[in-house]
């Protein structure tokens, strides 16, 4: 039972940003996560990849404290997630009612509600932080638009600004690039790179292995358990990918390299994405994505 006036947790700055110890989550008799242990340090940017139903959403829910692990423990800066308001999250766009009567400014201000506290109104400091967050994602000029009047990429940037206004130190992003066109994806990626330079720790769920390997220094391959966690070159091998994607994965021995053909998917209920991922050669293979005709082939 949450307290009416929750005490916010104090950070142990010497502890890692995020630690999971033997975390299992069970729904009935099936495991969504099984014996998951890992540590993420301050400033790490981790791409979380895995097939549909691999437990990416459950993993995020455990980290935010929305789902309690059946076994094991989650630590954020040394203590359980319940008291922390430093965990920001960027929801999948299809989870939001875009007709909601809120402007861009209102939406970003919502990130401050935890800090402001009950029975108080946002002050000048809160407004200044919202303004700064909007400038950081390049959305200041849209502050008075209703959120439904924005493009998909702009909406995603507003939610990033909301996490910034929240002063989140650990950011969870659920498929932030899904359904966006190439320039919008690039704009989001630029902002994430900026945040990375500022030392914001983040976990990004994605179904795009190429993008993950190319842009993030750490990759977590998830399928109920953590199959591999490390730099792309180490984490993504034929062996680990076969383990993660199982029967969805076909290995083709082409003349110049092994090609892995896989169905990956996102947890947002989109149709399976046919994707050819390259591995085993120095040059990345061209990216081919059948289910998103609007998404351009990269390179």
């Amino acid at each position: 039972m949450p307290q009416l006036f929750p005490q916010h947790a104090v950070h142990d700055e010497s502890a890692p940003t995020l630690t999971l110890e033997h975390v299992s989550v069970r729904y009935g008799s099936t495991y969504a996560l099984e014996d998951v242990s890992f540590t993420v340090n301050s400033g790490d940017q981790v791409a979380v990849v895995g097939p549909n139903g691999a437990g990416k959403s459950t993993l995020f829910n455990v980290i935010t404290g929305i789902v309690k692990p059946s076994r094991g423990a989650v630590h954020i800066y040394g203590s359980g997630p319940e008291g922390h308001i430093c965990v920001g999250y960027v929801p999948q766009r299809n989870r939001i009612d875009w007709r909601f009567p809120a402007t861009v400014f209102d939406t970003v201000l919502m990130g401050r509600v935890g800090k402001i506290g009950l029975f108080r109104w946002p002050g000048r400091g809160d407004r200044a932080k919202v303004q700064k967050a909007l400038e950081q994602v390049g959305m200041a000029e849209f502050a008075h638009r209703q959120i439904g009047e924005l493009s998909g990429g702009q909406q995603q940037r507003v939610f990033l600004a909301r996490a910034l206004a929240q002063e989140a130190q650990l950011l969870l992003l659920d498929e932030p690039l899904t359904g966006l066109d190439a320039p919008s994806q690039q704009a989001i990626l630029d902002i994430l790179a900026d945040l990375g330079r500022e030392g914001v720790t983040m976990l990004i769920a994605t179904h795009d292995l190429n993008q993950a390997a190319e842009l993030f220094s750490l990759i977590m391959l998830l399928r109920r358990r953590v199959i591999a966690f490390g730099p792309p070159k180490e984490a993504l091998t034929t062996q680990t990918l076969r383990e993660a994607y199982g029967s969805h994965l076909h290995v083709i021995h082409a003349a110049d390299a092994d090609i892995l053909l896989t169905d990956t998917c996102c947890s947002g209920g989109q149709p399976p994405v046919g994707q050819i991922i390259g591995h085993g050669s120095e040059e990345a293979l061209p990216h081919y994505d059948v289910s998103h005709p609007d998404r351009q082939t990269r390179r």
């Binding site: 935010t64 809120a102 209102d106 509600v113 935890g114 029975f119 638009r145």
Partner: protein, 289 residues
């Protein structure tokens, strides 16, 4: 001069004064809470709640208590009960509501049928009797209404987060469960204070319709509430005058005016109205062609 007379003449009757005050207050309270009802997708719940409290009203009526007391007890019990039932996850929430809704309403009507003046009482409960509002009814409406509005004001930003993005509410460690129950209780109280005016069968229109029209006209929550309150109060006043002059039942008259306003807004609202969007499509075609 004639128009002024038209407006003033009904007010020479004391019951019209009281009805007018009740109609305005109920219009405002319902529309403000109604904004949350539609944003949270609680329309069906609101309708059910109005029917569910019938046994409480009849019980109070039979015992000679103020009706609001019985209704309030039943409403709060039902709101908490439904919340608890659906949180268990064994039944879909709408199924649970449907069962309680129909059963409870049947119980209320059955209890009422033991009374001699059954037909008259039933019609007042179903469709309201604003012209019969007493001075003490007005005070109850005012007191409870003020309480509801103050609560909405106090928890404005928390309710907004909860309605917009429940996951954010949890991540920010807001007391989400408490807020959800609080909102259910506020809706129950609002329905109770509206029963005299529009009755069980039509209270849903007061909750949903002005707020829905206001959502098409505004882009922020507090302006949506303000515009909804204006539409609610305005249609109730117009409805009351209509009922006086063309001699139709007052509750349905108010609901018809609100519905009419909604249709106008739906057609003509700038940016989001049906005609506006059709016109924009045509302009686009012309530009493209």
């Amino acid at each position: 001069m004639a128009a002024l007379n038209w407006l003033v003449e009904p007010l020479s009757y004391g019951f019209m004064w009281r009805a007018l005050l009740a109609a305005i207050m109920v219009g405002i309270i319902c529309s403000v809470i109604g904004a949350y009802v539609i944003l949270q997708g609680m329309a069906f719940f609101g309708d059910a709640l109005a029917h569910i409290i019938l046994p409480g009203i009849v019980f109070a009526f039979l015992l000679g208590w103020p009706l609001a007391v019985g209704a309030l007890i039943a409403g709060v019990l039902a709101a908490v009960g439904i919340g608890a039932l659906s949180q268990r996850g064994e039944l879909r929430e709408d199924t649970a509501i449907g069962i309680i809704f129909a059963g409870s309403f049947a119980l209320g009507v059955a209890m009422l049928s033991t009374v001699d003046s059954y037909a008259v009482d039933l019609s007042h409960i179903l469709f309201g009797d604003v012209l019969g509002a007493s001075r003490s009814d007005l005070w109850i409406t005012f007191g409870l209404g003020l309480l509801v509005l103050l609560t909405v004001f106090a928890f404005y930003k928390e309710f907004m987060v909860l309605a917009f993005d429940p996951t954010l509410a949890k991540v920010l460690r807001l007391p989400a469960t408490f807020l959800r129950y609080l909102l259910l209780v506020l809706v129950a109280v609002t329905i109770v204070v509206s029963l005299q005016t529009v009755g069980v069968a039509l209270v849903l229109a007061m909750l949903v319709t002005p707020a829905a029209a206001a959502q098409l006209l505004t882009r922020r929550l507090w302006t949506m509430m303000a515009v909804a309150a204006f539409i609610g109060a305005f249609s109730n006043v117009v409805g009351l005058y209509l009922s006086f002059y063309i001699n139709i039942a007052s509750g349905p008259a108010m609901v018809l005016v609100t519905t009419g306003i909604f249709v106008l807004v739906f057609l003509f609202a700038p940016e989001r109205g049906l005609l506006w969007r059709a016109g924009r499509d045509r302009r686009k075609e012309r530009m493209a062609g």
